[in-house]
């Protein structure tokens, strides 16, 4: 598969603080990658480097371009929505549409208008007068009307209520994503993206802790809830981690065969958030 983003030994420091320490990643065409980490783990720093918004050390190639010196070229093929509401409050909805049409060669106005018509956003209102949810919908409508190869979403649903969050990702999958595109999502709301990801990257203290496809992840990691009388036997199998809560014990296994585990109790898939906690608490 074609490599869209590849980074080798990517580093970035702010004074004495190392935000990224020798990151190696490769993101390919057609992937939906979740970049997951706690606050301050380096997610946004990594994203900013990929988008050409900040300097870095090491090698970074995005669609064959150097983001730092060729940001304007790169933005023809890369779209992003960052974690903060970035549409200025003074711009009117129709002015925002006109502006993007004016500066972006791959923008399709009628597509944007048809997305907007599905919402209740008035075209002649200023962004400052719209609700937070509407601003995100407007931004998404503008971005989805751009024919780009990579879409980067940095905490896109931060501050949105639950209904919008669900709609946001549904629309993204239905109206935007296809195998020619790649989506990179950073979030610490792991649960809401879990079902749409094809690949997952965990980042902590500026280092990549885990980088695998969802398929591989589900095949490798399992949760076993053993029958009470077989807890000790299950423990003897050497689980990766043991969790006790509300008087129930469960084990997380790495690489064990499902059939073997099933003898001791109920085997479930390990949720991404549990995997995240397991790997990040680390022992």
């Amino acid at each position: 598969m074609t490599n869209y983003i590849s980074a080798k030994n990517l580093s970035k420091s702010f004074g004495k603080f190392d935000a990224l320490r020798g990151v190696d990643i490769s993101i390919k065409k057609g992937q939906i990658v979740g970049l997951i980490g706690s606050n301050g783990a380096g997610k946004t720093t990594l994203i900013n480097a990929i988008l050409g918004l900040s300097s870095y050390e090491g090698e970074l190639d995005v669609l064959g371009l150097d983001p730092q010196s060729q940001r304007d070229q790169l933005m023809k093929e890369v779209c992003f929505i960052s974690d903060v509401a970035t549409l200025p409050s003074w711009i009117k909805v129709n002015e925002a549409v006109q502006y993007v049409e004016g500066v972006h060669p791959n923008f399709n106005r009628s597509r944007a208008i048809s997305f907007l018509n599905q919402t209740s956003i008035p075209m002649d209102k200023k962004v400052g007068k719209l609700s937070k949810g509407m601003v995100v919908q407007l931004h998404l409508a503008l971005i989805m009307a751009i024919d780009a190869k990579i879409l980067v979403l940095d905490e896109p649903t931060l501050g949105l209520d639950i209904l919008y969050r669900k709609k946001f990702y549904d629309q993204l999958l239905e109206d935007y994503f296809d195998e020619e595109r790649t989506i990179v999502i950073t979030t610490h709301q792991v649960d809401e993206v879990e079902n749409i990801l094809t690949d997952v990257i965990f980042i902590r203290d500026g280092e990549i802790m885990y980088d695998a496809s969802m398929e591989e992840t589900l095949a490798t990691w399992k949760t076993l809830e053993p029958n009470p009388d077989r807890i000790d036997e299950a423990r003897a199998l050497g689980p990766y981690r043991e969790i006790s809560s509300l008087g129930r014990t469960s084990f997380i296994f790495k690489g064990s065969d499902k059939a073997t585990l099933q003898e001791f109790g109920e085997v479930r898939r390990l949720s991404l958030s549990d995997l995240f906690v397991t790997l990040m608490t680390g022992e």
Partner: protein
């Protein structure tokens, strides 16, 4: 015509960037001159109705107008001069609009984080900064100048009306035939742009401050030079900076000799201002302004968020 200028229906980055700046700075660029012109006309009309008995230099306005008939050749200079200076308040307001726009163009976008949206579009920082500069030094005055014409037309009509109503003279003889129309048009463009080009390093400084200031670029833009001037005076007993700033305005004094209304051709006087571009200090200013603009571009490339 205006709607073709102010709407975008196709890929045209430079036009879109200019319109974006216009939308963002609508108040400084369009609303301010519009309001000032409206107020000028409003108070002008009130004065016309109530001001006939107004005493200036011991004579009423009507007496002045009547006397003007006897001034012969000077009359043209007086009429043209009055019209040239009638939009003075408006022209001063353009200066203020330019200063405030320059101080905010690279600051507000960082403060309201919209820079992240602008940077998600395929336009370079160089294009953005140059369009912002052109918005300050070209678009702002160009939008305001038609309002200066409106004020001048209103003033001429007012004078003509007062002559027609209050005296036995013909408004054409006293007012309209005595106006040097070409000089007025030239005067609305040339001195303004000569002034802007001379003060370019100051305008560029304001933009430079707005590209890095973390809060209140306005204060920083004035405090930094004030501190340097004070430090120079106290520690080095020198005054390089204050002289450099003053030199941006002193050409006005040197060239105003040839820019006198009373004698000589007004138009010639206006065009003689262009001669100031031959002075080396003008070009030093351009170079310094250029360096500061390069600084703005580099800083915008690097700092995306405050």
């Amino acid at each position: 015509m205006f709607s073709a200028l102010t709407t975008i229906n196709e890929y045209n980055p430079i036009k879109a960037l200019f319109l974006k700046e216009f939308w963002d700075n609508r108040r400084a660029i369009l609303v301010t001159p519009m309001v000032i012109t409206g107020l000028f006309i409003f108070f002008g009309l009130i004065a016309m109705v109530t001001g006939n008995g107004m005493m200036i230099d011991g004579a009423s306005l009507n007496d002045h107008i009547s006397n003007a008939q006897d001034l012969g050749g000077e009359q043209s200079y007086i009429m043209t001069g009055v019209l040239m200076f009638s939009p003075m308040i408006l022209i001063i307001s353009i200066g203020f609009s330019m200063v405030f726009t320059a101080l905010s163009v690279l600051y507000d976008e960082r403060k309201n984080k919209s820079i992240l949206f602008w940077k998600s579009m395929p336009v370079s920082d160089t294009q953005e900064v140059l369009v912002k500069l052109a918005t300050v030094i070209v678009v702002t005055p160009l939008v305001a100048i038609p309002f200066a014409f409106i004020i001048q037309i209103f003033t001429a009509l007012t004078m003509g009306t007062m002559v027609a109503i209050n005296t036995d003279f013909s408004a054409w003889d006293v007012v309209f035939s005595n106006i040097d129309y070409l000089a007025i048009i030239a005067n609305d463009f040339i001195p303004i742009f000569v002034f802007i080009l001379w003060t370019l390093p100051i305008i560029a400084w304001f933009m430079f401050v707005s590209s890095f200031s973390r809060r209140s670029p306005f204060l920083l833009a004035f405090i930094v030079p004030a501190l340097i001037v004070a430090a120079e005076a106290i520690f080095f007993n020198s005054s390089i900076l204050i002289r450099a700033i003053a030199s941006r305005f002193s050409y006005l004094g040197r060239y105003s000799d040839r820019y006198e209304i009373e004698d000589g051709n007004i138009l010639e006087g206006i065009f003689s201002l262009l001669g100031s571009f031959g002075e080396p200090s003008f070009w030093y200013g351009v170079v310094i302004a250029g360096l500061m603009i390069v600084g703005c571009i580099q800083l915008r490339k690097r700092n995306s968020i405050t």
